[in-house]
């Protein structure tokens, strides 16, 4: 196939042409600093306000509860560090899950070095948070529960409503990293008792370098980036107007297409999953079969290693990933796959294919054919497969 088949939409997405269109005037013409006093800049202030309102509406929130950031990682860092700082009088304990993104996990490690205690709640074999473990982890000093809405590697959707209720009953703040879930799943912050929520523009066909943190009114907040009075004095730095406008546009489109898009993705995803499981032996699906992101599939192919699989797929013009994009270069297998109980060698042989609604079944057929061939080839040179066939362990 000559055309590239991009199946790594969980890593990043193409910015939509309409989004770029919307951004363009804010680079060269309406370039003013929204904080400025003159009329020329007030159009930029308005553009920022409009985008903020679109996003607020998409979550059932108020515009004053949306704070723009430089991306999902910043939002995650901010939520955790600010809560830790603002509520340290109340307690020093934070609960999160074992399968969070590194933006959460490494921030937790940082907090642990700074006097906080963190409990990492486990997940079951499908990657679903163990609610009993969560409840048991709660202490009088617990100030925050942070559990991702849906996992970036295996796509499992967490029982957010239940977690929100547990948090509320125990008077604990609840943050969710919704970087993967936002605009793939229906989210209402009030229904779900969410106090803080992180999202990132480039995961939903918006621009890179922009994200937001939703902070419920009443939550005490501290700045992560101090300085000017932007974002109601909570996040300093000249507003990234083009990116904010583009993000607003991307959300607007994602809202409009929501139902049709996600239904189509689910159908394509199921098609892909069923064919791969049926046709490639010694293969498992990682993540929950149904409680999963519409666009996510994640397989482990026994006896082979993921990187070689990826490179060979790449030579066939298929872009996929193994573990999370940001951690490639690392030699350890994904902490998520280990957390759902996979042994190391199986975790190493994993492949994440995350699609979008523009993929065709024909393209997926081509993908399946190539996955099959490549897995065969790699197994034929694998000492683990040799041992397996010979019955050695």
């Amino acid at each position: 196939m000559d055309k590239k088949i991009y199946l790594d939409n969980a890593a990043t997405t193409a910015t939509r042409p309409e989004v770029v269109e919307a951004m363009l005037p804010y680079f060269t013409e309406k370039f003013g600093n929204p904080s400025s006093i003159y009329e020329f800049a007030s159009q930029n202030k308005k553009a920022v306000t409009d985008a903020r309102e679109i996003i607020a509406k998409s979550l059932g929130a108020n515009a004053a509860e949306i704070y723009f950031t430089g991306g999902g990682s910043e939002s995650d860092n901010w939520a955790l560090k600010a809560t830790a700082e603002a509520y340290k009088e109340k307690g020093n304990h934070i609960i999160t899950s074992k399968i969070e993104h590194h933006a959460i996990l490494h921030t937790c490690e940082y907090l642990e070095k700074n006097g906080f205690e963190v409990t990492y709640v486990g997940v079951d074999e499908n990657g679903v948070l163990k609610l009993d473990e969560l409840k048991a982890a709660i202490r009088p000093t617990t100030i925050l529960i942070s559990v991702m809405f849906a996992n970036n590697e295996i796509g499992t959707i967490q029982p957010i409503k239940e977690i929100g209720e547990i948090a509320k009953q125990n008077n604990i703040l609840f943050h969710t990293d919704a970087v993967q879930a936002y605009m793939q799943l229906d989210i209402n912050v009030d229904d779900l008792n969410i106090d803080m929520l992180s999202a990132s523009g480039h995961k939903i066909n918006g621009p890179k370098g922009i994200g937001f943190l939703y902070i419920r009114k009443g939550v005490k907040i501290r700045s992560l980036i101090h300085g000017g009075a932007q974002e109601r004095s909570r996040r300093a730095g000249t507003e990234n107007v083009p990116a904010i406008v583009g993000y607003g546009k991307a959300v607007e489109i994602a809202m409009d297409t929501f139902k049709e898009r996600t239904e189509k993705e689910i159908e394509l995803r199921n098609y892909l999953i069923e064919r791969v499981l049926a046709e490639v032996p010694y293969t498992r699906l990682n993540g929950h079969r149904t409680k999963r992101l519409p666009n996510n599939s994640n397989f482990s192919f026994q006896f082979i290693e993921g990187e070689s699989l990826l490179i060979m797929l790449d030579m066939k013009n298929i872009c996929g990933s193994s573990g999370s994009a940001c951690t490639s270069g690392s030699l350890d297998p994904s902490h998520v796959l280990l957390a759902i109980g996979l042994p190391h060698e199986i975790a190493h042989g994993s492949l994440r294919l995350t699609l979008n609604e523009d993929i065709t079944k024909e393209e997926l057929d081509y993908v399946v054919t190539n996955v099959k061939e490549i897995v065969d080839k790699l197994r034929s040179m694998s000492p683990l497969y040799e041992d397996y066939v010979k019955g050695i362990n």
């Binding site: 990187e307 070689s308 030699l331 190391h344 694998s382 000492p383 683990l384 040799e386």
Partner: protein
């Protein structure tokens, strides 16, 4: 990310396979780290490596270094094969990305392991050959953190 040579040896690996009743077989690495290399040597009575095969579970660099290492030892005397360092393997591949240097170390080690096996089986003592570690540590990783 990889040089053309690496890509070539990855996609068309030389000497993939097994040798039945090999003179020496060495397996190094472990699945935990995501790399396992197994090297089979066929050594004749004059100590010449007549044939060599490998099987590797691992990344592109692991496959390519295995392939190149087998090419480099093929036809060599045991003593010569022993002198082939990971650096030689890397050079022959036009280099490796820093995070993949350990693959070349693993390839070197796999050869040594197969030679050790050969030596043990034949009750030989090969000058300069130490009992190979079954695994190598990625010492270069630490440096990054110190910076």
């Amino acid at each position: 990310m990889y040089s053309e040579k690496v890509m070539d040896h990855f996609t068309n690996p030389r000497n993939v396979g097994e040798i039945e009743n090999a003179s020496g077989v060495g397996t190094v690495g472990n699945a935990k780290c995501g790399d396992i290399m197994r090297i089979f040597l066929d050594i004749d009575d004059n100590g010449i490596i007549n044939d060599v095969k490998f099987k590797t579970f691992g990344c592109g660099a692991a496959v390519a270094t295995s392939s190149m290492a087998t090419e480099l030892v093929k036809g060599k005397k045991v003593e010569e094969a022993l002198k082939i360092t990971n650096k030689a393997v890397m050079d022959a591949l036009d280099g490796l990305p820093p995070v993949k240097v350990h693959c070349s170390l693993l390839a070197e080690e796999a050869i040594h392991a197969a030679l050790w096996d050969y030596a043990e089986k034949n009750n030989l003592k090969i000058e300069g050959l130490k009992k190979p570690k079954s695994d190598i540590n990625e010492e270069e990783e630490e440096i990054k953190e110190e910076y």
